[in-house]
């Protein structure tokens, strides 16, 4: 009898220590959300390299009593890398090593398109404040419109860490939906004649220009906006690895192994911020809605500025490349190419759209730096 009682007590203790006894409805819903995101990543192939680990991190975050964030271990180390802004600059190192600034250097006027498309960030900021978010939260939500995951995470951690999960999921989901969101807006705001504009071949860019640009840009932007020196510094360092011609091994590591490793940590850790208490709030739905508004208005801002530049340049700039100013490298540039090719087969806009596309990355980082300086 005593043996049975001891067995029952032990069994009860195991049950009480298990995750099942503390499992809430909220955890169940979030695990379902994680499964839906996994479905989107694996079956629908929406940004699978990012959405996959984010979704799995979301599932992991909703197992009760794991002590992931309280006890030292891998999960706490990953969280440390996110909370202390270590991973986003490392991702930027890889992006810099992968990015060809050549189209931007050949036609620097396209920088303006990257600036114009940042209007989406601030339209969403205004919308968020009207909906009752405080100014720091609104800034973090607005940066979704920059369509730049690492910058969105970097800013959210510093201004509204409790919204990180929702902001990251909205940013990455919309980035994968760029081919669906942008074309209708681009067609609505341009005429057939504008979409058919053929752009002149870009001039060749010398190695001297390619090497000097990341060095000088890092110096100027870091001095001007110290809060984003880590982000922009790493972006330009990665690009220097690529363009110098003497650091191929470092360039290769930055754009492949290192970038993949950090992506695993960053995305899993971001997913792990999606616990039920923080994520299952009405604010999450508002953030997802505001993210869409940010993407749409950023696209519209870029295209409208593109129309202006088209007129001012004497029909030498196709307004469709303006939409690539929202970042989302290289997806947004591919969308410009796709819409341009539909309007006029044989009209290759991809290389021209890469100028505003990489300008958008810099523009989003500058917007984030300005908001950190003003609002933090």
């Amino acid at each position: 009898m005593e043996l049975l009682q001891a067995f029952a007590v032990s069994l009860q203790a195991v049950w009480l220590d298990s995750g099942f006894s503390a499992f809430t409805m909220g955890n169940g819903i979030m695990i379902l959300v994680g499964l839906v995101l996994l479905y989107m990543a694996i079956v629908k192939e929406f940004e699978p390299l990012l959405l996959g680990p984010i979704a799995f991190g979301c599932i992991l975050a909703n197992f009760p009593r794991t002590g992931f964030l309280e006890e030292p271990g891998l999960m706490q180390a990953i969280h440390y890398g996110i909370a202390n802004e270590i991973f986003p600059p490392l991702i930027f190192l890889g992006i810099g090593a992968m990015t060809d600034f050549g189209p931007l250097l050949a036609r620097p006027v396209t920088l303006l398109l990257g600036a114009a498309a940042q209007i989406g960030v601030f339209v969403a900021l205004v919308g968020a404040m009207l909906l009752g978010f405080n100014v720091q939260e609104a800034g973090a939500i607005g940066i979704i419109g920059g369509a730049d995951g690492p910058t969105a995470i970097y800013l959210s951690i510093q201004m509204a860490p409790h919204l990180l999960g929702a902001i990251a999921v909205a940013a990455y989901s919309y980035m994968s939906l760029v081919p669906l969101i942008q074309p209708p807006i681009m067609k609505l705001l341009t005429t057939q004649k504008e979409r058919e504009v053929a752009m002149e071949q870009l001039r060749p860019v010398t190695k001297f220009e390619r090497v000097c640009f990341p060095i000088v840009a890092a110096i100027i932007i870091s001095l001007l906006l110290p809060p984003i020196a880590a982000l922009l510094g790493c972006l330009m360092l990665g690009n220097l690895f690529r363009e110098s011609g003497v650091m191929d091994r470092l360039s290769d590591t930055a754009q492949n192994s290192l970038c993949n490793i950090v992506t695993i940590f960053l995305a899993t850790g971001t997913g792990m911020t999606m616990n039920a208490d923080d994520f299952l709030q009405p604010a999450t739905l508002l953030i997802i809605g505001l993210g869409l508004l940010a993407f749409m208005s950023g696209t519209a801002g870029g295209v409208l500025f593109g129309k202006l530049m088209c007129r001012l340049s004497g029909w030498k700039i196709n307004p469709l490349i303006g939409s690539a100013g929202v970042s989302a490298v290289p997806m947004a540039a591919r969308v410009s190419q796709m819409v341009g090719m539909k309007a006029k087969p044989g009209n290759y806009l991809l290389m021209h759209a890469m100028g505003p596309n990489v300008a958008g990355v810099i523009g989003t980082a500058v917007a984030a730096g300005t908001m950190l300086a003003m609002l933090k």
Partner: protein
């Protein structure tokens, strides 16, 4: 955490967009400056200023340009020639040159080929 400078969303928007435009315009100026001081840029100006004198017609140098570029092994030449012959093309292979190593141009070629 220090206090925000302002909480008026329209002022935040105006200031931020101005800063973004100014920084990117400054980068544009820097890019033009780098291009201006670039000591390695090809000098095309003299040709434009004075049209080149017509070259005296001379006999083409026999075999001046190698029909097969350096770095392409005889085995590769044989394989290419065999592939061309197997497609039923008459005639002879006169020159073999690798396509230009320009990623942008190659991307365009790939797009055209994949359409065909």
């Amino acid at each position: 955490m220090s206090h925000p400078v302002t909480t008026n969303p329209l002022i935040i928007m105006l200031i931020n967009m101005t800063v973004v435009f100014l920084v990117l315009i400054a980068l544009g100026v820097v890019i033009n400056l780098i291009h201006y001081i670039d000591p390695t840029k090809p000098k095309a100006a003299p040709e434009e200023a004075a049209p080149a004198k017509p070259e005296p017609v001379s006999e083409p140098e026999p075999a001046a340009a190698a029909p097969v570029e350096e770095g392409i092994s005889p085995e590769v030449v044989a394989v290419i020639a065999a592939a061309v012959a197997s497609m039923g093309c008459a005639g002879t292979v006169k020159a073999i040159r690798p396509i230009e190593r320009n990623n942008w141009k190659n991307s365009g070629r790939n797009a055209i080929q994949s359409r065909g």
